[in-house]
């Protein structure tokens, strides 16, 4: 069928991209074979309701070769991935970043309609994972993964990912248990304390003692279980002779509990168990609020996540999938197009092209020849290659970076939190006050001395102080998250507030590596464009992909022959005309070196039509952001050659240091040098080549365009189009210091009032029951409200990211 109909761009029925309708099926147009296949599969299985579900939102189809999952059938690999394994039932969990809407859940949970061997599937939306129960005697694990990929939900499999999925929420759950117990006990103790507030008569002594002992009973789980974290932490910090916020809290809680128990057992009073359990409850709410995590994001990935799980190794005259940590020096491995080299190796082919953009940030593939050293982390472009492994993955050039000191250290150790500094002063003041009041009462009324001292310690419990930080930082974390900047935890906010130096990576960070602008210099007819689109569509080279995407119009043409010559170009024949798309040498164009842009030439029957100029596109808002950062913006460190120096100079201004051709170690050392000068450094980068610098810096921010793909270990992940607002984010983080100090002031004023009651010996249970929760609540309300207000002023230009 050689038809030549001009079709106006229609939205693809599956992905909604303004497609050029390569194919029409069932009266619906599709942009690519992949989208059409998905529709066909769904149609066959009566699952087209997928497109009609409320909340359906379209996504782009990503092609994954079905044999890419073959290694899953290797017993070593599957043993690591399967959660449960038996003869007729196995259970597996896949991480699928594409999960994003109600239709995704619906389709994935209808998976049993595709294959009888699939027993049950269950989606966890927050974690973006799907758990599949299946019959391993009927379907292979690799077939399952391939099926998911075929309907557009390609699972991402790495050993580390599975660990993250399994134990991420365990910590959170512990906290909720404690919170539930504390809340339960608090509510019931309040209930039993009520008669006491209203005033019981003397002849109700039986009731009074019953209520008191019930309160004591209910307070035991609170002190033993819910509050245990505070006691443990206080003990720990005493052992290392440091004062943190948990010491005065533990002291106050202990004073409250001991005093109340004494009063009840000696039947001298009703005790303060209502205040005690209330404080623990509020404190735990603060912790819970602060512990917000992004379940589907991982901040602690190392190189293992980047590498495939297994590769094909030549053993006993066949290719066998083998787990990469079993690779030994001397093994012979085969890699297909776009696969990552798992270990430093030597090339066995005459010629191959390796894309090191992962490692160096440089996006142009490097040509390698027989016996050349190929580093781990490179990506094979073009034909399959055979390699000879030199070193194990863990000893490879790139991965050895992880053995450096930066990866072993913990940030918190060398920096004192604002809250702990405040707690230190606070504790000293409180203990001094307790001693002074004790001495005064010793002379005034020795019988009440201990009562007054415990009262002082009780009300001095800096509950409100301890709540200020979690609620301020927690609220900021949420405001950031709504706008596409995801932080690892709330401590990062405080570190961002103190940043005075920002260092940027270039490719993928300042510029968007995936979407360079491309324009054709020369003249092309609609038919030429269509032919080029079809040709480039058949190639997997990154530049081909860019050109293919940039051609909008479409005329249906049929390709008679096609050949890809890796690293050089493409040759194809349409209607007897020979099209060549590729490097200047490939089409015999007059060769001129252009470092700042990649050029792809086009010729038809050896008649050169012109070239595509591909420029890396600077992300929106970057120049404003750099201006707003001013002196803080210190340097640009890039793994690329300095072809972009002038363009970057224009963007950054002359005061910013420009460093090119930096290795990952260079970047890390540069950040370290700045830190030795006493700077607090934020590193903004994207690739594996920045991972050392990200880890070394005080705050490492990874830029990524799709939160589903891998990001290096970092403290925060920012979506690519939000990077222009980095200064706004930093400004909000900075205002957290002010908000926190104001909250401290409020908290201290309450403590001062309460202390004056306590020192005068007037602290009745009723006064404590009102004053303590009131101070907690007002601090919580103040910090949440203040953050909200600050976010509105700082973020007026930033839109919410809807996810």
């Amino acid at each position: 069928m050689v038809k030549s109909t001009l079709i106006k761009s229609l939205p693809c029925f599956h992905c909604g991209e303004p497609c050029e309708s390569t194919s029409v099926f069932d009266g619906k147009s599709f942009c690519c074979q992949g989208c059409k296949t998905v529709y066909e599969i769904l149609n066959e299985n009566d699952l087209c309701e997928y497109y009609e579900i409320d909340g359906f939102s379209r996504m782009r189809f990503k092609e994954v070769a079905p044999e890419a999952y073959d290694y899953l059938d290797n017993a070593d690999v599957s043993a690591k991935i399967l959660q449960f394994e038996s003869e007729h039932l196995s259970k597996v969990s896949f991480y699928i970043p594409a999960i994003h809407c109600a239709s995704c859940i619906w389709l994935l949970e209808s998976l049993d309609k595709f294959d009888d061997a699939i027993i049950k599937t269950e989606v966890s939306f927050g974690r973006k994972s799907v758990t599949i129960d299946y019959d391993p005697s009927k379907v292979k694990l690799s077939a399952l993964a391939a099926l998911l990929a075929k309907v557009g939900y390609a699972p991402i499999i790495s050993l580390q990912e599975n660990d993250i999925l399994s134990d991420k929420s365990k910590n959170d759950r512990q906290l909720v248990y404690k919170l539930a117990v504390a809340g339960f006990c608090f509510g019931n103790i309040m209930l039993f304390s009520f008669p006491e507030y209203l005033g019981l008569d003397g002849h109700d002594s039986l009731l009074r003692s019953t209520f008191s002992f019930l309160n004591l009973l209910l307070a035991v789980p609170v002190v033993a279980y819910s509050a245990s974290g505070y006691f443990n932490s206080a003990l720990k910090s005493l052992r290392v002779k440091e004062v943190n916020i948990d010491i005065p809290i533990a002291l106050g809680l202990l004073a409250l509990f001991v005093r109340s128990t004494y009063e009840i057992i000696m039947s001298v009073g009703p005790g303060y168990f209502d205040s005690f359990s209330g404080l623990v409850f509020f404190l735990l709410i603060g912790r819970w609020f602060q512990s917000k995590t992004y379940e589907s994001l991982a901040f602690d990935r190392d190189f293992k996540s980047y590498f495939p799980l297994a590769v094909n190794v030549y053993v006993d005259n066949t290719w066998k999938p083998t787990v990469i940590y079993q690779l030994r020096s001397g093994d012979v491995i085969r890699l297909r197009n776009m696969e990552i080299v798992p270990a430093d190796s030597t090339l066995q082919e005459d010629e191959a092209f390796i894309d090191y953009s992962f490692v160096t940030g440089e996006s142009r593939p490097v040509a390698c020849h027989k016996d050349d050293l190929v580093y781990a982390g490179g990506r094979v472009i073009g034909k399959p290659v055979v390699l000879h492994v030199l070193r194990q993955t863990y000893q490879s050039h790139l991965t050895s970076l992880w053995n450096k000191a930066a990866f072993g250290k913990v940030h918190e150790s060398h920096y004192k939190k604002l809250i702990d500094r405040a707690a230190r002063k606070f504790t000293i003041v409180v203990i001094a006050l307790a001693i002074v009041t004790g001495v005064v009462w010793q002379f005034h009324d020795p019988s009440r001395m201990w009562l007054v001292i415990t009262s002082v310690l009780m009300v001095a419990c800096p509950c409100a102080l301890a709540l200020a930080a979690p609620f301020t930082y927690g609220s900021i974390l949420r405001e950031f998250g709504k706008r596409g900047f995801y932080l690892k935890n709330s401590d990062v906010v405080e570190r961002i507030a103190n940043i005075d130096t920002v260092v940027f990576d270039k490719t993928g960070t300042i510029t968007n590596g995936n979407e360079p602008s491309s324009n054709f210099i020369g003249a092309l007819t609609a038919e030429d464009e269509a032919c080029i689109k079809v040709m480039t569509g058949a190639s997997l080279h990154p530049l081909s992909k860019i050109i293919e995407r940039s051609i909008g119009r479409y005329v249906e043409v049929e390709m008679n022959s096609f050949m890809e010559i890796p690293g050089r170009g493409l040759i194809a024949e349409f209607n007897g005309r020979q099209y060549k798309v590729g490097s200047a040498a490939f089409v015999d164009a007059p060769h001129t070196a252009h470092l700042e842009q990649s050029r792809v030439f086009v010729s038809v029957d050896d008649d050169i039509l012109g070239f595509y100029a591909l420029n890396a596109r600077v992300r929106p808002g970057v120049s404003q952001m750099i201006k707003a950062l001013g002196q803080k913006c210190r340097a640009l460190v890039s793994g690329d050659g300095d072809g972009d120096r002038d363009a970057m100079m224009n963007l950054f201004g002359s005061s910013v240091e420009m460093l090119f051709t930096q290795t990952p170690e260079d970047k890390m050392n540069y950040v370290e040098t700045l830190q030795n000068e006493g700077k607090k450094v934020m590193m903004v980068g994207d690739g594996l080549n920045d991972s050392g610098a990200l880890k070394q810096s005080d705050v490492g921010v990874a830029v990524c365009d799709d939160t589903g793909i891998f990001t290096p270990a970092c403290d925060g992940i920012i979506t690519g189009n939000q990077i222009g607002f980095l200064h706004d984010f930093m400004a909000l983080a900075k205002s957290s210091n002010f908000i926190l100090r104001s909250a401290f002031a409020i908290s201290f004023s309450y403590n001062a009032v309460a202390l004056s009651f306590a020192m005068a010996g007037h602290l009745t249970p009723l006064v404590a029951a009102i004053l303590m929760p009131l101070s907690s609540v007002s601090v919580v309300v103040f910090s949440s409200f203040a953050v909200n207000l600050a976010a509105r002023t700082h973020f007026s230009r930033i839109e919410f990211i809807t996810k």
Binding site: L47, I53, V123, S124, A180, N188, F192, L207, L214
Partner: protein, 59 residues
Amino acid sequence: MNIIIALICISLFIAVGFLISFLWSLNDGQFDDTYSPSVRMLRDGTVKKKKTKKNERAE
């Protein structure tokens, strides 16, 4: 008056029952994913319905 004490003990006993059932449901993972169940409950029947419609048309 003793009856009040008995009632209070009973009420506390029931409340503890609810606490335990909450902790159990938490442990069971019922709060891990609060979005997909809302989609899941609308699922089953509709697929079958579509099938019958198609069959009718075929006949």
